[in-house]
């Protein structure tokens, strides 16, 4: 092993119940470098990471870290060696505070016995400040948004003494400024000699921040190349094994002026976070809803879906005012909502994929409240085919699928009751570039058939590519609406931040 390598993996293989997930993978990571790790959903990226950080054991192969062969790695022994991970699925104790989570397992103590709360709070505040976040160290994690939870996971990793930082899709829900800041921190760490493995489906980010890129395809190592030699397009074709055509469908024409909107929000105000938000969403329209973290996008969507109480303002569906107090009522009014927080509210991990797909629409498969399982399974198989969900059957517990494939299941679940109005909150979170194309064209098709779509996304490229019209929120209200050629990064960010 050459002295400049921190990590060398040779011939690593791993199977889950007889299925090869990693097949003789080799990879090396240089000291003080950022290695991008890319591959389609289910290619084995997270599994490779879990083999390195001791979450699971490989079946065969060798891992050398700082010149030493790692054997029987456990989570603790990996941490002790300085292998720190930001996992794809968060590992936070929801009922505890941000500070408690950040110091979980290595609390600071007075004289080795009593917890030193003030030191931990101070350190937490410093970490959060470094991440330019306004989260309170004493906030309970369950009250945080998904982007905030992501920041807490990052802060927790930064709080560890580390030689190798592994980041499994840390940026999926972050906004452009937050991503910029994250990259600044990563570059500083690299300058200190720390190595980073960075997993992302946002290939432009990989291009920006990584020194080399390693590609996995179907559990096989494809290649590792200097980023300078590759364009984002090249990376996509290496992942997929062929050229990719454009991924966004043509934008639908503007709706007829006289039709009443499918969904109209008129001065909707919540107790906190949202004030006098108004917007109109027409049938067949794909409306973007952009804004920074904390601008109230998700809260507004949750109010429409009956999860949050409105204080004042009206919600109209097809021109008629509705009062929605629960998701059940929202669904009855033809509204679907795909939550941003897949893990806690989007899917039921222990349920088979097929049961997740029919979770909302179960009645459709019932005859006098008896479930017709054949029909239910057939519907799941259809989604597996259409969204290319990588699994061996609809009977697999959804928690055993890769992150991106779980997300596809969550989309299927929300679509299956044939809503008229669909609010997507971070719809393509963790989904690879090829499947993203599938999902975009599916959304386009639904819009053509008259469904009204509202797309909440921190991924500006996605908003700009999909939507002819974008509402931008700032400080809890709709700051402005952009159309046609005004839908571009500069104008969106101007409205979102209020500064040019």
């Amino acid at each position: 092993m050459s002295a400049e390598m921190l990590l060398e993996i040779r011939g690593l293989s791993k199977s889950y119940s007889g299925v090869r997930v990693l097949n003789s993978v080799s990879l090396s990571v240089r000291k003080g470098s950022v290695t991008g790790l890319i591959g389609e959903n289910g290619a084995g990226k997270s599994t490779l990471i879990k083999c390195i950080n001791g979450v699971t054991r490989p079946d065969a192969g060798e891992i050398l870290f700082a010149g030493e062969t790692l054997r029987r790695t456990t989570i603790e022994s990996a941490l002790r060696r300085g292998i720190v991970t930001i996992p794809q699925e968060f590992n936070l104790a929801n009922e505890m505070t941000v500070r408690e989570n950040i110091f979980l397992g290595h609390e600071l103590k007075h004289g080795g016995v009593f917890l030193n709360h003030s030191a931990m709070r101070k350190r937490t505040a410093e970490l959060l400040e470094r991440l330019e976040s306004r989260i309170s160290p004493d906030a309970e994690v369950s009250t945080l948004s998904i982007a905030e939870k992501q920041i807490v996971e990052i802060a927790r990793a930064l709080n560890r003494a580390c030689r190798l930082l592994i980041m499994d899709e840390p940026s999926t829900v972050l906004n452009p400024p937050e991503v910029e800041n994250l990259f600044r921190i990563m570059r500083a760490m690299r300058g200190d000699g720390i190595s980073i493995i960075y997993v992302s489906h946002k290939l432009n980010e990989v291009k920006t921040v990584c020194d080399t890129v390693a590609v996995l395809r179907d559990g096989e190592f494809v290649c590792e190349k200097p980023t300078a030699e590759l364009t984002a397009r090249d990376m996509a074709s290496l992942m997929v094994g062929r050229e990719l055509s454009r991924i966004f469908p043509p934008k639908p024409a503007p709706p007829a002026e006289d039709a009443p909107p499918a969904l109209e929000l008129d001065g909707v105000t919540l107790e906190k976070l949202v004030h006098h938000a108004s917007l109109k969403l027409h049938r067949g329209e794909i409306l973007g809803l952009a804004g920074l973290g904390g601008s109230g996008r998700t809260e507004l969507a949750e109010a429409v879906y009956g999860i949050r109480k409105t204080v004042s303002g009206r919600i109209l569906v097809n021109g008629r005012e509705v009062r929605i107090h629960s998701p059940a009522q929202a669904v009855a009014s033809g509204i679907a909502y795909l939550t941003e927080d897949r893990q806690s509210s989007g899917i039921i991990q222990t349920f088979p994929l097929a049961w997740n797909c029919s979770l909302i629409s179960l009645r459709k498969y019932c005859l006098a409240s008896f479930i017709r399982k054949k029909k239910e399974n057939a519907a799941a198989e259809e989604y597996i085919r259409r969204f290319r969900i990588k699994t061996n059957s609809g009977a697999t517990p959804i928690g055993e699928l890769s992150g991106g494939n779980q997300q596809k299941g969550a989309i299927a679940k929300s679509l299956d009751h044939s809503p008229e109005i669909f609010i997507f909150d971070e719809p393509t979170r963790g989904i690879d570039i090829k499947s993203r194309g599938d999902i975009y064209s599916f959304i386009g098709e639904l819009a053509r058939r008259g469904m009204a779509c509202l797309i909440i996304s921190s991924d500006l490229e996605e908003v700009i590519g999909l939507c002819r019209k974008v509402a931008v929120m700032r400080g809890g209200t709709v700051a402005g609406i952009l159309e046609d050629e005004h839908v571009n990064e500069k104008e969106i960010m101007y409205l979102a931040t209020g500064v040019k």
Binding site: P327, S345, S369, F370
Partner: protein, 324 residues
């Protein structure tokens, strides 16, 4: 690829079957050991006796299984059994016509059972009190009410029809066993084949995701407590016909523990989301056979609790292993 997939599916099915059949394998092994080692145990009369004895707790365990799968617990079930039984027999004494009296007692026992369950459900879902606390409270309340009504004694019936029901049997099996098996089939079908069953599992597995998926989780949990109350009522009626009386102090005592234990031994996840009725039935028989066999072998009565407790802990350890 396709062939690969089918063999895969088969493999998965195999490990699933093995995991799900643990309680049945344990039951079969236990039966085998007891049958070989003790001639009294294997007498048909003893086997029928075991079946009768386990039926009373078994019926209650069915309701408990629903409650636990939906993410709750019902500690009040034994007290509720006593309250329902006492109410039934007391009402019976006030009605002259014997047939009408038995019918009225039956209706009253069931009604009190359901009412008790509804009260539990209301406290837990409307009052948002954790189920452990709420039913710990009603455990005390229901027992106290039945003690008060019966003056801390035993209420008996003098109705011959009622007594006759207690020794009724068909095709060699006593009535409670038929009711137990019949209800087990119904509960099993509800859990596996109907939307209510699916919603019970979803509520226990991830209440927030279920709520977001338009499932009325409060209603679902409420229903499970009402059903548990119903099973307490059914069991109370059968139990009091057997003895032709019911003791307000002893009836249903620690039934909640046996019911919880049976469900857990049968593979129901303690924190909800997963479980099976067939497993619970196996669990009920495992507990019943062990206590019967210990009697047969002449083990000290006071040590039976030790054995039962150890079995429960071992069952949970095995479950834990599967989840890891």
């Amino acid at each position: 690829m396709n062939r690969n997939q089918t063999t895969l599916r088969k493999q998965r099915a195999w490990t699933d079957i093995l995991n799900e059949s643990k309680p049945f394998l344990a039951l079969a092994a236990l039966l085998l050991v007891c049958i070989i080692s003790n001639e009294h145990f294997r007498s048909p009369q003893n086997l029928i006796n075991i079946t009768r004895q386990v039926s009373y707790t078994g019926i209650v365990a069915l309701g408990m299984t629903f409650v636990i799968i939906a993410g709750g617990i019902d500690l009040s079930i034994g007290s509720l059994l006593a309250l329902a039984g006492v109410s039934g027999i007391m009402l019976m004494g006030k009605i002259a016509d014997p047939a009408a009296a038995v019918l009225a007692a039956f209706a009253a026992t069931l009604a009190i059972g359901i009412l008790g369950g509804v009260v539990n459900g209301a406290i837990i879902t409307l009052g948002k009190v954790p189920s452990f606390i709420a039913t710990l409270g009603t455990l005390s309340i229901y027992r106290s009410l039945s003690l008060y009504m019966a003056d801390a004694g035993t209420v008996s019936s003098s109705n011959d029809m009622f007594r006759a029901l207690g020794s009724a049997d068909f095709l060699g099996l006593p009535l409670p066993a038929w009711v137990f098996f019949g209800l087990a089939v119904v509960f099993g079908v509800i859990l596996r084949q109907t939307s209510l069953g699916r919603h019970i599992c979803a509520t226990g597995a991830n209440a927030k995701a279920a709520e977001y998926a338009a499932i009325k989780t409060g209603t679902v949990r409420f229903i499970t407590y009402a059903i548990a109350g119903l099973t307490a009522g059914v069991s109370a009626f059968l139990f009091s016909t057997r003895l032709n009386s019911i003791s307000s102090t002893d009836a249903g005592l620690s039934y909640e523990l046996d019911a919880i234990a049976a469900a857990i031994i049968g593979g129901t996840a303690m924190n909800g989301g997963r479980g099976s009725i067939a497993g619970t039935v196996a669990g009920v028989f495992i507990l019943g056979i062990i206590s019967n066999a210990l009697d047969m072998w002449g083990a000290p009565v006071n040590l039976q609790g030790l054995v039962k407790g150890s079995i429960i802990i071992i069952a949970v350890l095995i479950q834990r292993q599967k989840n890891a």
